[in-house]
């Protein structure tokens, strides 16, 4: 039953986090919206008051009456009561509802995919972000596991030292800055790879439709790879050092356990000890670390996307900030948060499957 309890606790945590995030995001947007609407009302009021003043110049009492009416009309049209806290609360509830239902309405600016529906924009963006980030994470981990195990086998060796320091150094670089440098080197100086990925759809649309099916698939993959290589290389370059170092630490800890010595004493070849026993035992903490590293790398990866113009969440953020489109900013933050919390939950679940102590309820 402990397994169920573990999962239930994790789900409870995730739901709680979601609720807090929902309140935070909706609340701050409500404050913004109400302030914004008040400003707009004030503007319109001043404008229309001038007309009224000319109209009722002879009759100051009527003017007063009319101007009060005007103000009330405006407030009603924009759905405000004048009481700030009350207005913010109403708006918060309204926004909570739209966020929970993922109904974000339309935006006046153009983003990606040629649509104005915020929900559709974010769907495309999330898909592209997931493609990029997932690929980059998987590559990072493949490299991290291979290098981390090699480092742990000879702690203090050359590989171990070099990679440890490389990990520390690469941790200090903003990923998006490395992205700029990659563009400088590979797009400007060497002219090898495209710097901006927005054109990926344009290139895709140029594939002739009468091409045989298999050729088309090959061509599509080629185009995606061409535009993905630089962003992925950037993310991997910045994160594989740190990943290797942490996996090395995890493995090193496990190598000192008794069962490893027992396995070695039994005369098992080192390869089987490492990849059979140690890898199996170290997978739960590695998965935990995977979850944490996603936490850490996600933000940086998003800005990196913006630098490359990758048509994902990063680009949406970049455009939304430049246009100060608060609606899209809020919607994308909410979508990201949900995705993020669900990913962590899923990883916790995988962790529980991997760790026999959790699975069987033993301690």
């Amino acid at each position: 039953m402990s397994f169920l309890r573990f999962v239930a606790a994790k789900v409870f945590n995730a739901v709680l986090t979601l609720i807090v995030a929902l309140l935070l995001i909706s609340g701050i947007f409500a404050v913004y919206t109400v302030t914004d609407l008040r400003g707009r009302i004030a503007e319109e009021y001043v404008l229309m008051l001038r007309q009224l003043e000319q109209q009722y110049r002879a009759n100051p009492e009527l003017l007063e009456e009319k101007s009060r009416q005007l103000y009330e009309n405006l407030m009603e049209r924009y759905g405000l009561t004048g009481n700030f806290i009350q207005d913010v609360t109403t708006w918060t509830f309204k926004l909570i509802k739209s966020n929970v239902l993922f109904e974000f309405g339309a935006t006046q600016y153009s983003y990606i995919g040629g649509t104005n529906d915020v929900g559709e924009i974010l769907l495309v963006a999330m898909k592209n972000t997931a493609i990029l980030f997932l690929t980059a994470t998987l590559i990072t981990f493949a490299i991290g596991i291979i290098l981390g195990f090699q480092m742990a086998r000879k702690p203090g060796g050359i590989l171990d030292r070099v990679l440890s320091i490389f990990g520390m150094i690469s941790w200090s670089f903003p990923t998006w800055w490395v992205a700029i440098i990659m563009i400088l080197v590979f797009s400007f100086y060497m002219n090898l790879l495209p710097a901006q990925a927005q054109y990926v759809y344009y290139d895709l649309s140029k594939i002739p439709s009468d091409m045989p099916f298999t050729d088309r698939i090959v061509e599509t993959v080629k185009i995606w790879l061409r535009y993905m290589t630089l962003p992925i290389a950037t993310i991997v370059l910045v994160s594989f050092g740190g990943a290797s170092y942490l996996i090395r630490n995890i493995v090193l800890g496990i190598l000192q356990e008794d069962f490893v010595m027992a396995a070695r004493a039994r005369g098992l070849p080192e390869r089987r000890v490492i990849y059979g026993h140690v890898l199996r035992t170290s997978s739960p903490p590695i998965v935990t670390y995977l979850a944490l590293s996603i936490v850490g790398a996600f933000g940086g990866a998003i800005i990196t996307e913006a630098v490359f113009g990758w048509p994902g969440m990063g680009l949406v953020y970049w455009i939304a900030i430049q246009q100060s489109d608060a609606k899209v900013l809020v919607a994308s933050t909410w979508v990201l948060t949900v995705f993020f919390i669900l990913t962590i939950l899923a990883l916790d679940f995988i962790y529980s499957l991997l760790d026999p102590r959790v699975r069987t309820g033993g301690r």
């Binding site: 986090t17 947007f29 913004y32 670089f173 903003p174 440098i181 800890g253 998003i302």
Partner: protein
């Protein structure tokens, strides 16, 4: 006292055993020197005008690389030279290089502006111009430009504007009007100069705008080229307008005009402009003489001509302030939160822990972006926001440490003797956690610096502060990487990384010394 100094000395000795720690200290010293060097070499005025008044940088060449680099790669760039009358350092040079001579003969008042400048490199300068404070009142007739020319180091002279000479053969009925005049009316050469009266104003004489001026090219340059046997119609006006400026500096100007292939004659040049009038009251006061070179300073300039070296050294202080302050607040708050939670235990611990976990599993950067975008980015608000999202990690560790410490006999004794919670937390548990706090303070600097830089890179940072992130934002907006402006993108990012490395190295060394048991 002596015990403290001794243990401090012992600590130092041990610290110096870690090569990484030494590297960290060296980097820290470099950063401090960089930060302090702004007080010495910094230009407060430049930073004050950075975003609000880019006019301040009008005399600097735009988007040019640093001089040392151009020299290093074998090019010989032309250095930038700015001589100003109100700058005590360069004003003596200005008086030497920018002269005003007046004379009067055959009933004409003649004022000649002579601007001397030296071209050292193999690139033509981006522009050469002198600015003079002029006031005049023409009492009779008009004021004319008698001659406008560039004397070159090879002894030749490129005459741009010249008074048309009277034809050698007598013309029946006298000379046409324009040949009788002593020169060319000023307004047809310098559209900025009023014909009759100028009441004290700065007038700029820029070689590049003179040599691309349509009137000058069509009325003076083209006819004089034709006289020399050049087929100007074949070159065309547009080509002339673009090539003339570079041709002025070339060994063979005519060839350069036709082919746009040029090589620069280095040495002293002289721009001579002389005005004549029959009766004029005129005063000319040199204000500045500028040679906009093809390189600038230690770190080049951006596309507004701003000196990037200033931004780099000025940004250091803010990176250090943001990094250190954020990590200090984060660690102190996180540690106390964790200690209190661990010490209290039970339901309080459960609630506190759960809250920390919730904050921990929120995606920090997206929320930071949202908050900064909506609340607006004062630097202190940004520091506060970063703290909000980064304390839980520390709290988890100190909580588990507090669990261990609170069962130590001396803490139990304190509880038994009636010490309050605050006293126990602050005086009995916190000192034990202190070493961990120091190490993690250093280790959380890079995250804070990168977070602030990321916000600035998205243009959500403090709008009034010149920070490294903001410089990179502007570089990105100007497509610096795709234009190859490496001097604009590499230094600020490298500086961010150096701050990060400094504290990662120091933190790792501290961690190894102070928390030998904690290393898992």
């Amino acid at each position: 006292m002596s015990v403290t100094t001794q243990s401090l000395r012992g600590f130092l000795r041990e610290y110096l055993r870690y090569p990484i720690g030494i590297v960290g200290l060296i980097l820290l010293v470099i950063l401090l020197i960089m930060s302090a060097s702004f007080e010495l070499y910094g230009d407060e005025e430049a930073i004050r005008n950075w975003f609000v008044n880019t006019q301040y940088f009008e005399d600097y060449p735009k988007a040019v690389p640093p001089c040392w680099f151009e020299n290093l790669r074998g090019a010989s760039p032309t250095a930038t030279l700015i001589l100003k009358a109100d700058d005590p350092e360069t004003s003596p040079l200005l008086i030497q290089s920018f002269r005003v001579e007046t004379s009067s003969e055959d009933g004409l008042y003649r004022t000649t502006l002579i601007m001397e400048f030296e071209i050292t490199g193999s690139d033509p300068p981006r522009d050469v111009y002198g600015v003079a404070f002029m006031s005049y009142r023409v009492n009779e007739g008009f004021m004319y430009v008698e001659k406008l020319s560039l004397e070159r180091p090879d002894g030749s002279e490129f005459v741009i504007v010249k008074k048309p000479e009277a034809p050698a053969l007598p013309i029946v009925g006298g000379l046409p009007q324009q040949f009788q005049e002593p020169g060319v009316r000023i307004d047809s050469v310098f559209p900025g100069m009023p014909l009759k009266i100028l009441k004290g104003s700065n007038v700029s004489f820029s070689l590049s705008s003179i040599s691309s001026n349509q009137i000058i090219i069509q009325r003076f340059v083209m006819p004089s080229l034709q006289e020399q046997g050049v087929d100007v119609n074949q070159i065309g006006f547009a080509r002339l307008a673009t090539n003339l400026y570079k041709a002025l500096f070339s060994t063979d100007p005519i060839n350069a005009l036709v082919t746009n292939e040029y090589d620069v004659v280095p040495g002293k040049y002289r721009m001579v402009i002389s005005f004549v009038a029959k009766d004029v009251d005129m005063e000319v006061e040199p204000v500045k003489l500028v040679v906009k070179g093809s390189c600038f300073g230690y770190l080049g300039t951006d596309d507004q001509g701003r000196d990037l070296f200033q931004a780099l050294i000025y940004g250091t202080r803010w990176a250090l302030i943001v990094g250190l302050l954020t990590s200090a607040i984060t660690v102190v708050f996180g540690s106390l939160y964790g200690i209190v939670s661990g010490y209290l235990g039970g339901l309080a611990d459960e609630v506190l822990l759960r809250f920390a976990q919730i904050v921990y599993s929120l995606p920090a950067l997206p929320l930071l972006i949202l908050f900064a975008a909506i609340i607006g980015g004062n630097i202190w608000v940004i520091i506060f926001l970063i703290v909000i999202f980064s304390w839980p990690g520390i709290a988890f560790v100190t909580r588990s440490m507090a669990f261990q410490i609170k069962s130590e006999p001396y803490v139990e004794a304190a509880i038994a003797s009636g010490a309050g919670t605050a006293r126990i937390v602050l005086l009995y548990i916190a000192p034990q956690v202190l070493p961990y706090m120091f190490a993690s303070m250093a280790l959380s600097v890079p995250g804070a610096v990168i977070a602030e830089a990321s916000l600035s890179f998205l243009n959500l940072g403090d709008p009034d502060l010149v920070t490294w992130g903001k410089i990179l934002f502007e570089a990105q907006n100007a497509n610096a990487a795709l234009n190859g402006y490496w001097w604009w993108v590499i230094p600020p990012g490298l500086a961010i990384a150096v701050v990060g490395m400094t504290f990662v190295f120091i933190g790792n060394a501290l961690d190894a010394i102070l928390n030998p048991r904690l290393r898992r």
